[in-house]
């Protein structure tokens, strides 16, 4: 494309934007004096801004197209190569562990609390990654399993005095049961249809919790959920916060370990095969129903355990914590981070939960930024921040 055409396109774009933003950027009605302020300088700003942005936009797109051809050969990005280097693995793990161990002692309780929430979402993201990233089942009601875990701890504790450590596996198992319950009727569905049904399932769980007062105490929720104990020792507020932080870190490590193992196993490969082609995988001897149900159950298990931890951390839960919005956030962490990629999902979850916390000053702009980042990601890095790399196998004769 010639420079002249480029200029013409950018001018058209800027004129179009000036026209679109005219009512909100230029006209301002002064309701006191009943006059209209014409803010023409805004129009100029919009025009110049969109002119240059559209230039930049097309430059980036062009660069991406050229890069795409080259990248096929060059292959991996910097981070991907870093993750594959064996010699960086040990120092990397040591550095990350030291940072996580020291984190609550260096930073304030407030920071530790935020980090704990972010790590809970890391667990949720990794759990959903089993269902979406590995098995390719688009689930939109994931927060429902999170709710199942949280409520199972809260209710078991309220009625039977069950402690945190007993509730943790029970929450996971109950969520897995619900996972199978949801999975069974939707075995035949894929893609958009599956997303809609699971979205409905998530809403059903939330609405039941909200309206069945005798069971779940409705919107007022359940309070005074005990924090996790440690051999019955009394702990101060601060120690408990740190203690919960370490529990979540352990849960994250456990999750990474399990998912890494699952990913490179017979089951993990069967999931990926089902994602790619259902008929062919059945012709290879893969039991579609069993394999899919396993993905649902395992994905839900982690949401359930994260739910138990969440309930013990906040000591209060109500249905408002498990809305569609939570499901969408978890889905975004997986998509943004990189489907199927463990490092990607962790990075995505930390980014999506921590950034809004620190961007509280920007108020409502958070949502716009959030949307814009997602759109830009889909265009420039459709595979996510850290794309998944298939494992290669060594063979010696």
């Amino acid at each position: 494309m010639t420079a002249k055409q480029e200029l013409k396109k950018s001018i058209i774009a800027s004129v179009w934007f000036m026209f679109l933003t005219f009512p909100i950027m230029v006209i301002k009605v002064n309701t006191v004096t009943h006059t209209i302020d014409w803010r023409w300088h805004n129009m100029a700003l919009v025009g110049i801004g969109s002119f240059f942005l559209s230039m930049l936009w097309r430059y980036l797109l062009k660069k991406k197209e050229e890069g795409g051809k080259k990248e096929k050969k060059a292959g991996l990005s910097f981070i991907q190569r870093l993750l594959q280097e064996k010699q960086f693995a040990l120092p990397g793990i040591v550095i990350i562990s030291i940072i996580t161990i020291l984190f609550p002692h260096i930073f304030s309780m407030y920071q530790t609390n935020i980090m704990t929430s972010a790590l809970i979402f890391v667990v949720l993201g990794l759990g959903l990654n089993i269902v979406i990233g590995l098995a390719g089942l688009l689930v939109l009601g994931y927060a429902a399993f999170f709710a199942v875990g949280a409520y199972s701890y809260a209710l078991l504790n309220l009625h039977y005095g069950v402690g945190f450590w007993v509730a943790l596996p029970i929450g996971g198992i109950l969520a897995a049961f619900f996972g199978i319950l949801l999975g069974y009727p939707v075995l035949r569905l894929r893609g958009d249809y599956l997303a809609i049904v699971t979205l409905g399932f998530g809403e059903i769980i939330r609405l039941v919790l909200e309206n069945w007062n005798e069971f779940s105490f409705g919107p007022s929720g359940i309070k005074n959920i005990p924090k996790p104990g440690f051999l019955g020792i009394e702990m101060s507020m601060q120690t408990t916060t740190i203690y919960v932080f370490y529990i979540v870190v352990l849960l994250v490590v456990f999750t990474i370990f399990v998912i890494n193992r699952l990913k490179n196993s017979r089951i993990g490969r069967a999931w990926t095969a089902l994602k790619d082609d259902e008929i062919a995988s059945q012709a290879m001897g893969i039991d579609k129903a069993k394999t899919k149900l396993r993905a649902f159950a395992l994905g839900a298990t982690w949401a359930g355990m994260a739910g138990v931890v969440f309930a013990s951390k906040t000591t209060f839960i109500n249905p408002a914590s498990f809305t569609l919005w939570e499901s969408v956030i978890i889905l975004c962490t997986v998509v943004l981070g990189g489907m199927g990629s463990i490092a990607g999902v962790i990075a995505g979850a930390l980014l999506l939960i921590l950034l809004p916390e620190y961007m509280r000053d920007f108020g409502e702009f958070r949502m716009i930024t959030f949307g814009a980042v997602l759109i830009l990601m889909m265009i420039f890095r459709p595979g996510g921040m850290i794309e998944d790399v298939r494992k290669t196998y060594k063979f010696e004769k």
Binding site: Q282, A283, M284
Partner: protein, 265 residues
């Protein structure tokens, strides 16, 4: 000798459409059998019925894996596709259906799914049995790729393979399920003459070295005539002829089905 696959008066209806009408077919151990017919004759539907994707409306399908006289017959109508594969019938697809996001080796490793059994707990704890099973899968898959002549592509993503290699990979993947009968749906479609010749050799090699019987659908008559020991011809869902390549070549009914009838002026 008993046939290893015996199809008795199989019929498949889709609503009012009879896609397969009362077809019989039998394959002996170690035989290469071809199923030919004009487009839309019902060949792929026939495959789908045998491999469990469809359940035939009428008729029976029996298998007897080792083909010996005292071996027992097993009826496989209406079994799920994954069960049929476990029983030893492996297939390839007319429109290539590889696992595109996986490497070539992993594609073949999936084929081993039917003959291995590690579950979730095995995957998480990775005990001795799982480890040795994994090792076996990798080894076996690699050897199959070597035999098929794809070992240079091992770590390549399956989608990045040239067309002919993708077709061969489908065969490799099917072989990994340890079949006694291999069903090939137009394996030479879209191949150039050189690739077709290599395929011809490959199919013979599979049959001769492993004793795997082969049922093949193919439009390339040269390949069919040189390979097969027995040919079945179907048209509009009905079997119109069966016999050796020589008999089929001169059968007037077959010629009519393919070229149409002569009209007197």
């Amino acid at each position: 000798m008993k046939p290893i696959l015996e199809v008795k008066s199989m019929t498949m209806d889709f609503g009012g459409l009879r896609a397969i009408d009362n077809v019989d077919l039998s394959i002996e151990k170690g035989q290469i059998v071809a199923l030919i017919g004009p487009n839309g004759a019902g060949k792929t539907t026939f495959f789908n019925c045998i491999t469990g994707i469809y359940t035939p409306t009428h008729g029976d399908i029996y298998i007897s894996p080792n083909g010996s006289e005292d071996g027992k017959n097993e009826r496989i109508n209406g079994l799920k596709p994954n069960i049929v594969t476990r029983k030893g019938l492996a297939r390839t697809f007319q429109n290539i259906r590889l696992f595109t996001s996986m490497t070539v080796l992993e594609n073949v490793m999936i084929g081993c799914h039917a003959i291995t059994k590690a579950g979730i707990m095995g995957a998480i704890f990775r005990g001795a049995s799982t480890k040795s099973e994994e090792k076996l899968i990798v080894e076996k898959s690699y050897l199959i790729l070597e035999k098929i002549g794809l070992s240079k592509y091992v770590d390549e993503l399956a989608v990045n393979l040239p067309y002919g290699a993708q077709r061969r990979l489908e065969i490799a993947r099917a072989l990994a399920t340890d079949p006694f009968l291999l069903l090939l749906d137009e394996p030479a479609a879209g191949m150039n003459p050189q690739e077709t010749m290599e395929l011809d050799e490959l199919i013979l090699k599979i049959r001769n070295s492993e004793g795997i019987s082969i049922l093949l659908i193919e439009h390339d008559m040269k390949l069919v005539m040189s390979l097969s020991e027995k040919i079945y011809v179907v048209d509009y869902g009905k079997k119109i002829a069966e016999g050796t390549p020589e008999e089929i070549r001169h059968n007037p009914v077959v010629i009519k089905a393919y070229l149409g009838e002569e009209v007197d002026a």
